[in-house]
């Protein structure tokens, strides 16, 4: 499903962020990327969404080398990948409903589909009664659940979560992780970047440990947080 082949990212003049990284993630997997800040987890995520390009190496998604995707086709590519961030990245001047609806509008969904799907997904993440609230009227946990709802509205094959619990308390963090596990059970490949030991150990799936832009350990099953 996702292959990183000899990936290198060097910020000029000589700041090596990713150093000859090779990794394969299979369809339907739940992978936790762990490592200290600066290990290269977020850079890897950004390359997958084409926010950043590698200095060398290849990224293959669903058999396609994403380096071949042209600028005008990037929006279409991004619609197949759901993303969740530590800082939520919600549109502050749009309501809960509009934040999710926007993601559908940009993919030219019909009005009927938007009106049917948006309330449905918001009630799945537990925000069914907050459709008209603006992001600043939501708690941290609610904001992250809204971000997950938005990420899922396209029914993406891949969900990338970059430190999704970084700004949340323990209880809300577990809620978010439960939601991610549920999404994974329904067939979506989930890549979670985190440095939260507790969370990783609770999940107990594949754990890839990174350090200084390299993979130092890859535990395929029942992984634990090791760096």
């Amino acid at each position: 499903m996702i292959e990183f082949k000899h990936l290198k990212k060097i910020y000029e003049p000589n700041d090596i962020v990713l150093n000859d990284l090779t990794l394969e993630i299979k369809k339907g997997e739940f992978v936790s990327l762990v490592g200290l800040s600066g290990a290269g987890k977020s850079t890897l995520m950004k390359m997958l969404t084409k926010e950043e390009n590698p200095s060398s190496g290849h990224i293959i998604v669903d058999g396609v080398d994403i380096a071949t995707i042209k600028g005008k086709d990037i929006p279409y590519y991004r619609r197949n990948i759901g993303t969740v961030y530590q800082d939520f990245k919600l549109l502050s001047n749009k309501t809960t409903y509009e934040n999710v609806a926007f993601a559908m509008e940009v993919s030219d969904a019909t009005k009927e589909d938007i009106e049917k799907d948006v309330p449905q997904i918001l009630s799945i993440v537990g925000l069914g009664d907050k459709l008209n609230n603006f992001p600043n009227q939501l708690s941290g946990g609610e904001k992250q659940r809204l971000a997950i709802a938005r990420a899922l509205i396209h029914r993406p094959k891949i969900l990338l979560a970059d430190e999704p619990t970084g700004n949340l308390d323990l209880l809300n963090s577990h809620d978010v992780v439960k939601l991610l596990l549920k999404i994974n059970e329904l067939g979506t490949t989930v890549v979670l970047a985190t440095h939260d030991t507790n969370i990783v150990n609770t999940i107990g799936r594949r754990v890839v440990s990174m350090e200084k832009g390299k993979i130092i350990k890859d535990q395929l099953e029942h992984g634990r947080y090791v760096i």
Binding site: K89, S92, V106, D108
Partner: protein, 302 residues
């Protein structure tokens, strides 16, 4: 397509309402810009009216020798009328000229006395010629000099008032061209000010644009609502400008008429109300959309 357009306009309108503080700022600046534009329009109208009234006061006359027959004069008049640059040619016969002269100097006993001493009519018949603008008088005078009855022409008044006519011509040309330069410069300043205001408004939403890109919005999906929002700024700004401008015209129109009787500024703007509103709204909306589109371009690089 229609649905997308509907969403774009609806989203633009929602953003416009929600960004009320910035919207008010942008609309105020754009309103002032448009008031400036309307003022320039008034200035153009005033200068053209002044030039027109000056030009109306200028004409040239060709005086014929006393033994010239009316047929010969009429022939010249017809040929003059056939010229594209000639607006009117008025014939003043010798008798008419004498009558006019007597009337003009009815109070002057010496002139009346002198006239009675002279046998016959000493005055010449003449043609008063008006052209479209003062620069054309030279070519009309030239035409009369080369005409086949040129030996019939005694005197052409152009050569006496040539300097004055040329000065008026030069003045009207420079008023026109400086007016145009001033309009263009102020127009450019206005566009830059508007553009910068809209740019600041959009700069505030830099992060929002970044997020839209991340959820897979194409450039058009991001740009559309901002263009609509810019259009709304323009629409409200132009209505605001009209609401400011017309009362001002109402107040100053009388004062201008007192100064230059032939000029009716209020009449000019009320007669063309529909056109002025349409033009201002069109210009405002265009200004808003163009400013938005330039301002947002920077943020759309993927």
């Amino acid at each position: 397509m229609f649905q997308t357009l509907k969403i774009v306009i609806k989203t633009g309108w929602t953003n416009f309402k929600r960004n009320s503080y910035l919207s008010v700022a942008a609309i105020s600046v754009m309103s002032l810009t448009l008031v400036l534009f309307l003022s320039l329009l008034s200035l153009q109208f005033l200068t053209s009216q002044i030039v027109l009234s000056l030009e109306k006061k200028v004409d040239i006359s060709a005086y014929f020798k006393t033994d010239t027959t009316e047929d010969q004069i009429f022939k010249i008049r017809d040929d003059l009328k056939a010229r594209a640059d000639v607006v009117s040619v008025d014939y003043v016969s010798r008798d008419q000229a004498l009558q006019d002269f007597k009337q003009r100097h009815a109070q002057d006993a010496l002139i009346q006395d002198s006239l009675s001493q002279i046998d016959g009519n000493p005055l010449a018949a003449s043609l008063n010629i008006k052209t479209q603008n003062s620069t054309q008088y030279a070519s009309v005078a030239d035409f009369l000099q080369k005409f086949k009855f040129k030996d019939r022409v005694d005197n052409i008044s152009f050569y006496e008032s040539k300097d004055a006519i040329e000065k008026i011509g030069g003045l009207s040309n420079s008023i026109k061209s400086w007016g145009l330069v001033a309009t263009l410069m102020l127009g450019l300043i206005a566009v830059l000010v508007t553009f910068n205001t809209v740019r600041l408004t959009i700069y505030n939403q830099k992060q929002e644009i970044e997020i839209m890109r991340l959820v897979g919005a194409s450039n058009w999906h991001i740009r559309g609502p901002y263009l609509a929002e810019g259009g709304f700024y323009g629409l409200f700004a132009s209505l605001g400008a009209i609401a400011i401008f017309y009362p001002i015209v109402y107040l100053v129109s009388d004062k201008i008429s007192g100064f230059l009787e032939s000029i009716n500024l209020l009449g000019y703007f009320t007669a063309g109300l529909g056109e002025v509103v349409l033009m201002t709204v069109g210009l405002g909306v265009l200004l808003g959309i163009v400013s938005s589109s330039i301002a947002i371009r920077k943020h759309l690089q993927v």
